[in-house]
């Protein structure tokens, strides 16, 4: 297992958000996390990436503990993420946004920058080359000088993915990457996710509500409901699992009852 969660529990002021979650992502897999609204999917991302600290449980990446580490340390260890609502750096260019990802892979400080040491210049070149390569990978080469927030929404999502790839991760977490995309953009997102795994060897864990996309792209699916994992398996198994159907249908019945 690349990523392993063991009995992770998280609660806010007595409200249980995650309850004894055991969960794993294998290296080189495309794995989806689904579940009704409020099931705790984004909270789980925040726990994995160090934004939330679970009250209980252990999380490891490649056997190394990552629980209780700061988000920047988790990223350095090899987990990158995107946000549910695109969070690009405003008033900065597409290229500058992507360059942010390379920060944790470089180390020049103030003095090296002021003196323009050869090592610093080599690092800056490396940052530039890697960032351009990541932009090329998401098919946005040629847009690098534009302000990130001036791009079309679908392109902004791609910039965010390029920025995450620039951290050179082992595992990429995508939080609802298809939200707000039209059907042709969704199609190219599916291709992009596959290429991230096939060409870069990066495992992908995604949260997504678009079921046709999830069923199409995932090799493994985990279902979260009320903070507990209720099912896991390949798309076909999960689709026919009675507990999953109930979790999703249960919602509808409540709505009908109203």
């Amino acid at each position: 297992m690349l990523l392993q969660l063991k009995q992770v529990s998280l609660s806010f002021a007595g409200n249980t958000v995650l309850h004894d979650v055991d969960f794993g992502v294998e290296a080189g897999r495309i794995h989806s996390l689904i579940g009704p609204n409020g099931a705790g999917k984004t909270s789980m991302f925040n726990v994995i990436t160090g934004f939330y600290r679970p009250q209980q449980g252990d999380i490891t990446l490649d056997g190394e503990r990552i629980v209780k580490r700061k988000p920047h340390a988790v990223t350095r260890m090899g987990i990158a993420r995107t946000f549910q609502n695109v969070r690009l750096f405003r008033e900065m260019s597409v290229l500058e946004n992507v360059m942010a990802g390379q920060h944790c892979r470089t180390k020049s400080g103030a003095l090296a920058a002021i003196l323009r040491l050869p090592s610093q210049r080599a690092e800056e070149r490396q940052i530039l080359e890697t960032s351009l390569e990541c932009l090329d990978f998401v098919d946005l080469l040629g847009q690098q000088e534009r302000l990130a927030t001036n791009l079309a929404y679908g392109h902004q999502r791609r910039v965010e993915i390029a920025r995450a790839l620039a951290t050179e991760p082992k595992l990429l977490l995508l939080d609802e990457p298809a939200a707000g995309l039209n059907s042709s953009e969704k199609q190219s997102l599916i291709e992009l996710i596959r290429r991230i795994r096939d060409e870069r060897g990066v495992a992908v864990l995604l949260i997504e509500h678009d079921m046709s996309l999830v069923m199409n792209v995932s090799e493994r699916i985990s279902v979260l409901d009320h903070g507990s994992l209720i099912a896991e398996g390949d798309p076909h198994t999960v689709q026919n699992d009675p507990r999953v159907i109930e979790a999703y249908l249960g919602q509808d019945e409540e709505e009908l009852a109203l």
Binding site: H72, Q84, A100, G101, H103, S108, E124, N150, Y153
Partner: protein, 334 residues
């Protein structure tokens, strides 16, 4: 974690909006590298020639303006780039000045040998004040830095080694390879060199990995953290770098005047430096330099108005901020 609402800005595929008003067009004219280089040469030539064609009074005022350029560029790293409101910047200025003065005057240390100690002291002061407080939100940080500035001033006032309220005098003038730096023109040129170094250093910093990290953290701390940027370390680096700029200003300020007192490092001093940064345009190097010159030269140019000059200067500043709220030469790219 509070996430801002998504704002899908869908711009038509094409060019960025073109500069519209007069200011923007004027500034855009200096964005091209060729013209900027030409401007650098012209400004440097003016700086070199000025003391030979103007009075000693002008030279002294310009020296002061150049000191402010160094201080403002330093504060700009903290306020303009990292977005940390610092109301006690004069403290670092004081640490630099006092360290060098005490070492040279009371312990007979050579001026140049004393500089590293002064820089170290300023960096240490930056870590001491920054370490525990940089987790605070900006407005709380402003109060803490204000307090820190006052603590440094009162400490200088009450210690024997700092000369108490009357401060230190007879600070020996430095010499460099047999050149005894003592006349006002000598010091003018020293400050020209310092200002140029501060300018080049700022430019290079902002064009680097660390400079970009300051912007990322200022724009969105969470997204920056998610990209692997340690926000506390990044802010601390801004604080320490700013402190060192301030200390360099203080070091040469003390030997230029030959005497320092706690009142040289008052809260007003901090506010004046901050004023220049905000007035010129936070985060924009040429704007900040312009702000430094305005803050120093403004009251001098208005000397004919006698007692009214500070009032008129204040009204002018208010008008500038009213019509150019993000500074005269703002860092705005959208």
């Amino acid at each position: 974690m509070s996430e801002p609402k998504p704002t899908p800005v869908t711009a038509p595929d094409g060019q960025e909006p073109r500069p519209r008003n007069l200011f923007q067009r004027l500034y855009a004219a200096f964005e091209s590298p060729g013209r900027r280089r030409a401007l650098h040469v012209v400004i440097l030539a003016i700086l070199i020639v000025t003391p030979w064609i103007s009075s000693q009074y002008t030279t002294v005022i310009l020296t002061n303006a150049l000191l402010y350029v160094v201080l403002c560029l330093g504060l700009n790293i903290v306020v303009g780039y990292a977005g940390l409101l610092d109301l006690g910047y004069a403290a670092f200025f004081a640490v630099g000045a006092y360290t060098v003065s005490i070492l040279t005057q009371q312990f007979g240390v050579n001026f140049w040998a004393a500089i590293p100690f002064a820089l170290l002291a300023a960096a240490l002061a930056g870590v001491i004040i920054g370490g525990p407080t940089l987790r605070l939100r900006s407005d709380y940080l402003a109060i803490v830095t204000l307090g820190f500035g006052e603590i440094v001033r009162f400490t200088a006032r009450n210690l024997e080694i700092t000369g108490g309220a009357s401060g230190l005098s007879h600070i020996p003038e430095p010499s460099l390879f047999g050149w005894h730096i003592d006349s006002s023109i000598d010091f003018y040129y020293v400050f020209v060199v310092l200002a140029v170094v501060a300018y080049v250093a700022s430019q290079r910093l902002f064009d680097s990995r660390l400079g970009r990290a300051w912007l990322y953290v200022r724009h969105d701390e969470d997204a920056a953290e998610a990209m692997g940027i340690n926000r506390v370390a990044t802010k601390l680096a801004a604080y320490v770098t700013g402190a060192i700029f301030g200390a360099i200003g203080g070091i040469f300020f003390s030997v230029n005047l030959g005497a320092i007192s706690p009142e040289s490092f008052s809260f007003q001093q901090s506010v004046l430096i901050l004023l220049a940064v905000v007035l010129g345009g936070m985060g924009k190097i040429p704007g900040v330099i312009l702000g430094a010159f305005i803050v120093v030269l403004g009251p001098e140019l208005l000397r004919d108005f006698g007692t009214l000059r500070l009032l008129i200067f204040a009204v002018l500043l208010l008008l500038i901020m009213l019509f150019r709220p993000s500074g005269i030469w703002p860092e705005k790219r959208s």
